[in-house]
Assembly symmetry: C2
Homo-oligomer: 295 residues x 2
């Protein structure tokens, strides 16, 4: 590492950023809470509550890293955050190490890595993240956009794991924490009739009623079943890289998430997510590159 | 920085990766050539040949960093590369410092930073990059995709700076090196009649006839005029973050690049690029977050 960046990694003091509203009251806040061991270094016990089968959800992990950076950087909102997933995380102890890359007036850039421990106690890197943070509340209110909210039927016409023949695997702990109601037109895969289109749409919320904020948007973009299911593939679709742009602080209420895949080729696919809030604002966009491991 | 990552930054030896074909013969190869000062550390004189007005093009800079990582990592092709732009680069001396994050059988992950020097000779970080590399030639040939090539008229019905009232600013050195023929339906801005749609499409190549490869794709995604022009805004649109997925080694011949913006809001916009090769393969996808600085 260059001297300049290393020196910036441990400034004498880091401004403590206000914890998300309702800290302690809601599961997502409790499960992303970090203990600062030293400036820029945080301990966490990764919750088993956000697993899909046995893997810890990548969006939950990104929210953990995003929360560490919100503390380490002088700005609190992730404007753009890119994560490269290195090895599979497990529920249990982890340490997040952050590095302040640059601080500016309106944007600051930071880096963070999440490590867990091997059988000898040595740190193994799970995820590395690069992100630029700002303050969403300072942005002008102009919207000049051609994007329209996704056409999702009303929530009572959409389906979640609790609505009968489980469309989302009931053995995944994360299903107990999410309010996920899938658009029936992207649910063909659950009935053995995938549409062949790389689309997945759903209403999204946290089951305990926690309202969305920039950190929970990092979870929302990676919480739906893989679009590969609607293309007719089953199996595991591990994320290689995920970048999220948070564009607006979300209004309270349920979110609509639309995911699209245009290019499944050579054993990889991209998933583009758009997240819309209850005020019809496009609050987050994301893209991930994932591998297709046929089941 | 964590001990583990720092230790990995300077392995005892790094396999030299084959230089791109035609090294020395073509301007892009000469201007991205790096001299290895030490394992993982590279010097370069950034060319003034890839500037837009006075700023060094972000795609050219990404190609420089991408080439350093291709040397530092055991894999040669950038599968996904994310760059955060920190300060404006200038033509002239620079140093690239790389860090091997993880090496795996099919993918390796690396980090790289480009630094220039202030008046006291101290290093100033310009760009930091996180990337996962693989070998495109080892991927299976399956394509299951709904994406279609962009509808761009034949090249002789498209327009470049040499075709009269300059649509691309003639004072930009990069214009002399690119074969850029813009779709007339996304050229309204040049005639004072922007379409209002966030779209830009063009045929793209290198003027000296160098064929595309994964490194030049990193340039192609950031070489068109900003979509903001067609939305009716003029001025500077500096990139905050740019992520490129290279999905296939491009066939020889001209590329088609299509750029779309769906969400211009709060002073920021995203630009999504797709790059198609002469064999009708979607060879790269990118997304950037940029600021809109009104002119």
């Amino acid at each position: 590492m260059p001297e300049a960046a290393t020196a910036a990694a441990e400034p004498a003091s880091i401004a403590l950023v206000t914890a998300p509203t309702g800290d302690g009251e809601f599961e997502f806040d409790r499960d992303t809470a970090l203990t600062r061991r030293a400036p820029g270094v945080y301990d966490i016990d990764l919750s088993a509550g956000w697993t899909i089968i046995s893997a810890v959800n990548g969006g939950y992990l990104l929210a953990v890293l995003g929360r560490a950076l919100a503390d380490a950087l002088p700005h609190r909102d992730p404007f753009t955050i890119s994560a490269h997933y290195l090895t599979a995380s497990q529920p249990g102890p982890a340490v997040v190490r952050t590095d302040v890359v640059r601080t500016g007036r309106t944007l600051s850039t930071g880096q963070a890595s999440l490590f867990q421990y091997d059988e000898n106690g040595a740190e193994v890197e799970r995820i590395r993240v690069l992100a630029s943070y700002g303050d969403l509340d300072t942005l002008p209110d102009d919207v000049r956009t051609t994007a329209k909210p996704p056409a999702i039927p009303p929530m009572d016409q959409c389906f979640g794991p609790e609505d009968g023949p489980a469309p989302v695997d009931g053995s995944s702990a994360i299903a107990d924490r999410l309010m996920l109601k899938l658009d029936p037109s992207t649910l063909g895969w659950a009935l053995g009739q995938p549409s062949g289109k790389g689309e997945m749409r759903a209403w999204f919320g946290l089951k305990d009623g926690r309202d969305p904020d920039p950190l929970s948007l990092l979870l929302a973009v990676d919480a739906l079943p893989p679009t590969a299911f609607e293309i007719g593939l089953r199996g595991w679709v591990p994320t290689v890289e995920l970048t999220v742009h948070v564009r607006c602080r979300p209004a309270p209420g349920p979110l609509r998430v639309s995911i699209t895949t245009r290019n499944l080729a050579g054993g990889f696919l991209e998933e583009d997510a758009e997240v819309w809030d209850s005020a019809d604002r496009l609050v987050a966009q994301s893209r991930q590159l994932a591998r297709v491991r046929l089941g």
